[in-house]
Symmetry: C2
């Protein structure tokens, strides 16, 4: 590739007229691409704070980090919104050993919310690939054993979130479904697009009235080892040890900042991500990226001197990963104060190269978003679809507020999601900055024209 | 991010009718995403062959590698097309020392095609940021000195190829422009989107009748060091040593394979990339990706049992990087044999996540490509633009053949382009496979409907 520019460089960047909106959006991108602070902010969140599971000292530190950062940007108002959150602790590193001629340790982690093994559970493994298979095996095969949910993410899906959706129930509901048949524990093939030895955690939920059994995930390469061992030999025993526990709920906070609107200070356009993360890795893409995207969007609009009509608010939600208590609290308070939310934007799909937005709202709101494509397409934001927008803004759904999710490219997200590999080094500076600029541009358009 | 799927998973993947084309395109993607061989082929090209500059023993090895691979897929015809190519050798590692109280070694590499320093050149440095600045300084300031072209790639550009285009003239033409004013050598801030210590090479060309002076590139972080030193102190001396030389042209080959058409065997749809690479790194994205994309496209169409109407041809072009002799040879022979080329597709912008295609052709051809967007958009190929298609297919331009360039996301490409970092490990398996599938799908549509 050497001569491409000969043509490209002579194509003007804008095919549309250089009107005020185009110039303003260009100004937003220029500010972020040349003076953006989101990448260094993310480095700080990942390295100075690190992993920050709800209720942990690190999550408390993240609250202080967020409040200080918002204050440093001198937004018109910065405050903490109190919320009670669950407190789950992993405890000592888990172990999972495949017992055989040579014992093989498998890389394992407890799923969030799981009970511990109360010592070590040693039992035979029953491998299943679907809930139908689990049901057909029934109590006769499962009682007293460990169930291994071995369904890989479907590589045929173009958008990896669809593949994640296909396997998610094994993580969230698998343990209780197996417990109904007398399983002692469950082990899950990690929800990952890669084959490697990193287990991916994530939330699971016990069904009421069913015995609560320990639930763990093993790396996809470890799942291959276990699967192969089971294909070789009928009776395979696993030895599982987990020390996790759930402690009483503790006080935590959403962190909120705002730039007061000039014309309609009681109307709000909000943008946010979640401040909590899982306790392994650094929560860089999930959702450090969304946090710094959101803060950068408001910083930028202020930095370029934009005076919003409506109040622009950034919300760093607490506890998306295992409860969404921050999201519920924010929506409750917004409702009780009768705050009119024009739109809520969420970034919680990583800091990868931007593709567009998904919108959950009225047909009219979708059409309005589509109309802006003549501006957004010049920034490679061509993916405008109806769809889910985000967990933290979902409770704001009321038939009026447009809920919009920022949609970056999804190919690399589930390589590292909820694993030790979700670290700052996996985030690309320009991709992250382009994400922040995409969101800031959208906030500008919504603030100016409504949606 | 945990509940997104709750909605997404219930949205059908296709909004359009499940007609034959959609099913065929789906089959292409399924084949590559589950049984694709391009990633392992790229590993082999990068690790078993490695860097492969035209005229080198490694390039000869790459020709054998390509021929053997095409033969292994049992295409209807596989052959080598002889072509004479330039032979430039870097020789011993270059050195560039910033002379001062403490001598500071800067990371440097010769630009492709440069003469050597015939020993060591030690001279004062004149820093310029534009050709205008060079001209205004003129002979008085430049004669007997080393010119430092210090213009960074413009981070404000959304698509990095535009930023590359802006700096490319400093690499290709800078040496002769400086030599006109009596410069002894030139040193270039590497054309890179990152700040690091890896120099990026690339081709330069001497203007006839102007003294040929040595031309090198230094890492962008090294350029910062040099720039800062010059801001501190007026007189900065560099000591530059380069051992490169140009030897007589040697014989090499384009490697070609084809699947004969059922209805119009004398009509061709071709796809290709370039087999040569620079001599540092492994030429993984540039252009190993294009090579394995192209081969995989034909392998896949054969594997799923597709019988093309027209002859489908894969061309592994030799010598794109410093001469494009393979491209010229292929076009000459196609013309002399009166081969009707319906379309030529090139992949030479890396193996990153697919965005779409650029087309250089008639308005009608552009409209046809746009019409297919109702299928391609389901595979996130929404970027369909008029523009340059590729260096290796450019000589086929004749007003009839549609020239189409595969356009992956550009954000990461110039981080590693022409540097030691362009290695296999920087290629993402799913992204690479999606690229191959995008190209195979387009070949299918063009073969079936024409363009």
């Amino acid at each position: 590739m050497k001569k491409l520019f000969l043509i490209l460089v002579f194509i003007p960047i804008f095919g549309i007229s250089q009107d005020g909106d185009s110039l303003m959006v260009r100004k937003i991108y220029d500010e972020i691409l040349t003076k953006g602070e989101c990448y260094e902010n993310l480095r700080s969140l990942c390295k100075d704070v690190g992993a920050r599971l709800s209720g942990s000292p690190e999550a408390a530190k993240a609250v202080g980090w967020g409040e200080a950062l918002l204050n440093s940007y001198e937004f018109d108002k910065v405050w903490l919104q109190e919320v009670m959150v669950p407190q789950w602790k992993r405890g000592k590193k888990e172990s999972c050993i495949l017992i055989g001629q040579d014992d093989v340790p498998l890389n394992v982690c407890a799923l969030g919310g799981s009970v511990n093994t109360n010592g070590t559970i040693s039992a035979k493994v029953v491998m299943v690939n679907s809930f139908e298979e689990l049901d057909s095996l029934g109590e006769a095969a499962i009682n007293g054993n460990i169930v291994f949910f071995n369904t890989p993410m479907d590589q045929k899906q173009i958008r990896t979130f669809n593949a994640y959706g296909g396997c998610y129930p094994f993580r969230s509901k698998g343990p209780s479904k197996a417990a109904k048949y007398g399983a002692l524990a469950t082990v899950l093939r990690s929800l990952s697009t890669l084959t490697d030895h990193s287990p991916h955690t994530g939330v699971m939920r016990y069904e009421a009235g069913i015995p609560q059994i320990p639930a763990a995930a093993i790396g996809t390469a470890d799942a291959d080892i276990l699967e192969n061992a089971m294909l070789d030999k009928l009776d395979i025993t696993l030895q599982l040890t987990m020390h996790c526990q759930t402690l009483p709920d503790v006080k935590s906070y959403n962190v909120i900042g705002e730039i007061t609107g000039n014309e309609h200070p009681d109307n709000y356009v909000i943008v946010g991500g979640h401040l909590d993360s899982w306790d392994i890795g650094e929560g860089a893409h999930d959702d450090g990226a969304g946090i710094v995207h959101s803060i950068e969007a408001l910083r930028t609009l202020k930095a370029i001197g934009y005076k919003p009509k409506n109040t622009l608010r950034v919300v760093l939600f607490m506890n998306e990963e295992n409860g969404a208590k921050g999201a519920q609290k924010y929506a409750e308070e917004a409702k009780s104060k009768n705050e009119k939310h024009i739109a809520a934007i969420e970034s919680d799909r990583g800091g990868f190269t931007p593709r567009g937005f998904s919108i959950s709202g009225t047909e009219k709101q979708f059409k309005q978003l589509e109309e802006w494509e003549n501006i957004l397409m010049h920034y490679d934001l061509e993916y405008i679809v109806k769809g889910f927008a985000g967990v933290d803004i979902a409770p704001l759904k009321n038939g009026e507020t447009a809920l919009i999710g920022f949609a970056p490219d999804s190919q690399r997200y589930f390589d590292l999601h909820h694993s030790e590999n979700d670290v700052f080094e996996m985030v690309h500076e320009r991709e992250l900055k382009l994400g922040a600029a995409s969101i800031a541009a959208l906030i500008y358009l919504i603030d100016k024209y409504g949606i």
